[in-house]
């Protein structure tokens, strides 16, 4: 088994601020993902990474940057936080990319922008 750790658990930011969320996995998975969840909606893909130093845009990449520093970690940066924004950011990993590979999720980071 393995585990996905996300830090911080709660993040409060100011409008216009640059905010960074971190994700670590010890599954030794190649592929990692960042999703955003808004209240009452399903998850939407922001960025994903097939391997170390790889970066692929998802459906919601505008306003975000990401970095796959090493195989086990994947960071997401909100480049300019939007006032009154509230969302949960979920990190996931899988052994590979594609329908044969189950995704495992972290506990999430809850963002509130004042």
């Amino acid at each position: 088994g393995g585990i996905i750790t996300q830090t911080p658990k709660f993040l409060i930011g100011q409008e216009g601020q640059k905010l960074t969320l971190k994700c670590q996995q010890n599954f030794n998975h190649d592929t990692m993902y960042w999703y955003r969840q808004d209240s009452g909606k399903g998850l939407r893909l922001i960025y994903y990474s097939i391997t170390e130093n790889d970066l692929q845009k998802g459906d919601l990449s505008e306003g975000y940057d990401a970095s796959r520093e090493k195989k086990s970690s994947f960071s997401l940066t909100v480049t300019s936080a939007q006032k009154n924004e509230m969302a949960v950011f979920l990190c996931a990993s899988s052994m590979g990319l594609g329908h044969s590979y189950e995704q495992y999720f972290g506990p999430g980071t809850r963002l509130t922008v004042l």
Binding site: Y33, Y35, G40, K41, G42, L43, R44, L45, Y48, G58, D59, V88, L90, L97, G98, H99, S100, E102, Q103, Y104, F105, P107, G108, R110
Partner: protein, 110 residues
């Protein structure tokens, strides 16, 4: 329209009863995952299906790729089953990412 449609959007059950949640897909899909999101917000993997039926305790999921739907059956519901249930699938030819439904909010009442 949405590529992954979940129904119902909300469901209330009494303890000990059961029901089925459904996920319809508007195009080709090759595998489906079901998750439970609990009160703390964590997503718990329930099932991953490339075909057929899987069962785990009081939960059972089926996947019908020909007719483009999947179901999640809950029997003998318990209070801890409360939460939001999501299905997700790689939708469309060559898709390499999961598309999530909007979820079914399940409330189990004593």
């Amino acid at each position: 329209g949405d590529q992954v449609e979940q129904s119902p959007s909300a469901l209330s059950l009494h303890e000990g009863t059961g029901s089925a949640l459904r996920c319809n897909f508007t195009t080709t899909m090759r595998a489906v995952q079901w998750f439970q999101q609990n009160s703390r917000g964590s997503l718990i993997n329930l099932f991953y299906l490339a075909s057929g039926t899987k069962e785990n305790g009081r939960l059972k999921s089926t996947f019908n790729s020909k007719e483009s739907y999947s179901t999640l059956h809950i029997r003998d519901a318990q209070l801890e089953d409360s939460g939001t249930y999501f299905c997700a699938a790689e939708v469309g030819e060559g898709a390499d990412r999961l598309t999530f439904g909007k979820g079914t909010q399940l409330i189990i009442q004593p």
